[in-house]
């Protein structure tokens, strides 16, 4: 019977087909291609859509691929990426937070007022903002979890109510400036090149160390593991990406001879740090596991002893806290908070970003990286169209069309998956 196993590829002994024994690079590659063909595309389709956008805009305008514009893009994408990352947490539960954008506005107002009116240092201001965000999330989460009001209605009510709060705080039609060195610097300043290099090298080194240590443990305990060559290739790839980006952004990209702009925008490390944090929380902690479980089958999660209500409340708190950071980042970029901050289509764009990246609105599927990729897609559209300076109506139409294009690349490449019946 053992002959059958080898030829059929199906297991006869317990889990003989398990990946434990895979050990050379060719196998790993075949396996990857197989998984791709089976529909497990991850973020690949969204990345593909992004590549299409880059090619289109790159051809349409010669400034688009320029260093200056790409650095600007990083800053422009910052706020929406943070907001979308926060939204992933409630979307994972199958809930929605319509108020996230406005929550960001309210929190940024608190931050700005703490600094301007109360003379607090920037970090106190940010803490105040995040605390307000967490509080808002807590209240909404409780209403959703314990009273059982649909999150659409709760957050719609907060969307409206919080607009009133901003109006009240800022004074109708006014604005609060954000002139703090550090906060403003977040959007308009860059990391000194030397520091950038050091940071980049440290990141690569840490990653290499962790990867190698993990591999050593896997070997020692005889667990399933990738081939060693693959580990090396992954380290190499990360090093290349990090160092090339650092190298490029450390060049002077100013368009005026007497003014130097060089270094990595401060926004970038903030986003990367939060991305790493949330990826760890979602993928590697019990809390993250429980979040997926509640989103996938709340009743099963409840039966497994998970406190579903607490999961909901914490998810809303994280979402609103991230919205607070997004609001502060938006304020840092525009230099002020105004009553329209976080209103308008901000939220729709952020949810759209998460969904384009591959997060499901029905809960249970999504990652932090999805939000970042989707956020970049949205930012690229605005950035590219901004360079083309067309009439407003054309901008609207093209934005819609491009959004659809980016999403359909994703949809079409995922069709296999649904054909596989999963």
């Amino acid at each position: 019977m053992s002959t059958i196993d080898k030829t059929s590829g199906l297991a006869d002994a317990d889990f003989a087909g398990d990946a434990r024994k895979q050990s050379n690079l060719g196998d790993a590659f075949t396996d990857y291609v197989g998984r791709l063909r089976g529909g497990e595309m991850g973020s690949l389709p969204a990345l593909l859509g992004l590549v299409v956008l880059y090619v289109v805009f790159g051809l349409a305008n010669d400034k688009f691929l320029g260093l200056l514009n790409q650095a600007n893009l990083v800053v422009q994408a910052g706020s929406i990426c943070l907001l979308a990352m926060g939204l992933v947490f409630v979307l994972l539960l199958g809930e929605i937070d319509l108020s996230a954008g406005v929550t960001g506005g309210v929190c940024a107002t608190f931050t700005a007022l703490a600094i301007v009116d109360h003379g607090q240092p920037w970090w106190v201001g940010v803490l105040v903002g995040v605390a307000v965000g967490a509080l808002i999330g807590f209240v909404m989460g409780c209403l959703v979890a314990y009273l059982g009001i649909p999150s659409f209605v709760v957050t719609l009510a907060f969307f409206l109510g919080l607009q009133g709060v901003i109006l009240k705080l800022i004074g109708e039609g006014g604005s609060v400036p954000v002139r703090d060195e550090v906060l403003r610097g977040l959007a308009i300043k860059n990391i000194p090149p030397l520091m950038g290099w050091i940071g980049a090298i440290v990141i690569v080194a840490v990653f290499a160390l962790l990867s190698l240590r993990q591999y050593r443990v896997q070997v020692a305990r005889d667990l399933s593991r990738p081939p060693f060559a693959l580990v090396l290739i992954k380290i190499g790839a990360l090093a290349a990406v990090v160092l090339v980006i650092t190298g490029l952004l450390n060049q002077n990209r100013s368009i005026r001879p007497n003014f130097v702009i060089e270094g990595i925008p401060w926004v970038l490390p903030v986003i990367v740090a939060l991305l790493v944090l949330w990826t760890f929380v979602l993928g590697r902690t019990a809390w993250g596991r429980h979040l997926y479980a509640v989103g996938g089958n709340a009743e099963a999660a409840r039966r497994a002893g998970i406190n579903v209500n607490r999961m909901k409340v914490t998810a809303f708190m994280i979402c609103s806290s991230m919205a607070a950071l997004a609001g502060v980042m938006a304020a840092s970029y525009s230099g002020k908070v105004s009553p329209s901050s976080g209103g308008g289509n901000v939220l729709l764009y952020a949810v759209g970003a998460a969904v384009i990246g591959g997060t499901s609105l029905f809960g249970g599927r999504g990652k932090a990286i999805n939000a970042v990729i989707g956020g970049v897609v949205i930012a690229v559209i605005a950035n590219g169209l901004g360079l083309l300076s067309q009439a407003s109506w054309i901008n609207f139409v093209v934005t819609g069309a491009v959004l659809l294009l980016a999403a359909s690349v994703d949809a079409i490449s995922r069709r296999r998956r649904s054909a596989a019946g999963i």
Binding site: N69, P177, S254, R256, F259, K336, G344, L387, S392
Partner: protein
């Protein structure tokens, strides 16, 4: 039957008529303001000025805000008519909805006044406003004054594409700046909903596209100007590139004091509200108001008796005028780092 607006302790934010109003015979005046977001003025300047004027005259009144929605405005108008106002003043969000409101009011025998914006095809008795064409021209002239006779590349950052006033402002500015042959327009874009957050990205892209070779920026109001200055600061040219504005907001005045903004437009709400109050009270008591001209309603084919006021261009020299007029308080403008600048400019 309109003497029973005594909804007790509903707070002092209530705009219901003041306590001493014995306005049984004078009738009730309704005012609908357009929105809260395009400009500071409606809630922070017009509302108090109108309240003060009406209280002074001892008439009953109700002031509401349509929050930028024409439907809301229609709803408010309905309820005011239901509430028995005898004079209705509106700042229309667009001519058609305004005309519809006025049509309905007229059908119930209520007199109407166009405040700040003319309702084309409407039936208002009077039009009280600053001249919007003049605003754009003053902005253009102000930018030209700041730039001087040099070669200059200009970027135009217009107001909301759905707002007709934005179109007028831009046209006015173009009418001045396009005459000056050394100026070249290198980019122009409208900002949806006058949203300063979107304006930042829009301007950054226009600036990048122009390779930073920009010597002046037309920004339709102070909010957009602030967005522009944010990007200029990022590129180290704030203060070198003049930027226009409008509305004389705290933000705008501070930017002018700091030298980052070239000018703004001040439309004295006190003055305008006073004019409106005068006209409304006259109508409410069955009299006539004093006009200083007419404005042509191209659609309705009539000349509307008008009370037209002059906007004022504000530069670093006359920031004090706004504060003296009560448009902004010195305390708001001269906070923190601006205290010194205020002192230098002779503002207290």
């Amino acid at each position: 039957g309109c003497g029973s607006d005594d909804n007790g302790g509903s707070g002092n934010e209530s705009s219901e008529g003041g306590g001493g109003a014995e306005g049984g015979e004078a009738g009730k005046i309704g005012v609908i303001l357009p929105d809260t977001k395009s400009s500071v003025r409606w809630e922070s300047a017009d509302r108090p000025a109108l309240e003060a004027a009406f209280d002074e005259a001892g008439v009953e009144y109700s002031i509401q805000n349509a929050e930028g929605s024409a439907d809301t405005m229609t709803t408010i108008a309905d309820s005011m008519l239901a509430d028995g106002v005898t004079v209705l003043a509106i700042v229309n969000l667009d001519s058609e909805s305004g005309a519809a409101i006025q049509e309905k009011a007229a059908s119930q025998g209520v007199a109407t006044i166009d405040y700040d914006r003319l309702t084309l095809g409407g039936s208002a008795e009077y039009y009280v406003s600053f001249d919007n064409n003049v605003v754009g021209e003053l902005q253009g002239q102000g930018l030209a004054d700041c730039l001087g006779d040099t070669e200059a590349n200009l970027i135009y950052l217009n107001g909301s594409p759905t707002d007709n006033n934005a179109t007028l402002f831009s046209a006015g500015a173009h009418s001045v700046l396009d005459e000056i042959s050394t100026y070249t327009a290198v980019g122009e874009q409208a900002v949806p909903d006058w949203d300063p957050d979107q304006a930042v990205t829009i301007f950054e892209q226009l600036y990048t596209q122009a390779d930073g070779d920009v010597q002046g920026v037309y920004a339709a109001n102070d909010g957009l100007a602030g967005a522009v200055i944010s990007i200029l600061e990022k590129n180290g040219v704030n203060g070198e590139v003049p930027v226009t504005g409008q509305d004389a907001t705290v933000e705008g005045l501070q930017n002018i004091l700091a030298g980052d903004q070239c000018m703004t437009i001040y439309k004295s709400a006190t003055e305008e509200a006073g004019a409106l109050a005068e006209a409304a009270i006259a109508l409410a008591t069955g009299g006539e108001a004093e006009t200083n001209g007419t404005t042509e309603d191209s659609e309705g084919g009539r000349d509307v008796p008008s009370i037209l006021l002059e906007p004022v261009s504000i530069t670093a020299e006359n920031v004090g005028d706004v504060i003296d007029d009560g448009g902004q308080s010195a305390a708001d403008v001269c906070t923190g780092e601006f205290a010194q600048l205020c002192e230098d400019a002779g503002i207290s």
